[in-house]
Symmetry: C2
């Protein structure tokens, strides 16, 4: 069973990496950009057939290791 | 108009960062893991009302800057 996890900075947390990417996009002539924010993405393949249990496992991974919940939010999606 | 872009390593490209994360998850006692692969995520807010034009713009960003198409695939989704 596969899950996709996206981890993004909370709305009020500064994203210097995203700022640099946004500035670079402007420099190479791609305009129309209001904002760009960067995050992390994980594709997790679990040996688990129950989707509720699987999601709980992935949530545990996020809480214990993948995301820093002080500054980041995470989203789990079955794929 | 907002777009979500996920950039992942192509299937046959080694992902050392993902390997480390997978090993760490095992070390802290979270098993059942077949594989985990890490990628990048971008949330892009465009000043554009036409969704076809917007997606073309985002595709241009991916091709010119965000993704290295030799080793990476990208996926664009309107959000």
């Amino acid at each position: 069973m596969k899950f996709a996890v996206t981890i993004t900075l909370k709305k009020d947390v500064l994203d210097p990496q995203g700022k640099v990417v946004g500035q670079t996009l402007k420099n190479i002539g791609i305009g129309n950009l209001n904002s760009i924010r960067q995050g992390k993405f994980f594709e997790i393949d679990l040996d688990e057939s129950d989707s509720t249990k699987g999601e709980a496992k992935v949530r545990e991974m996020c809480e214990k290791l993948l995301a820093n919940q002080i500054i980041e939010d995470f989203q789990i999606k079955k794929i």
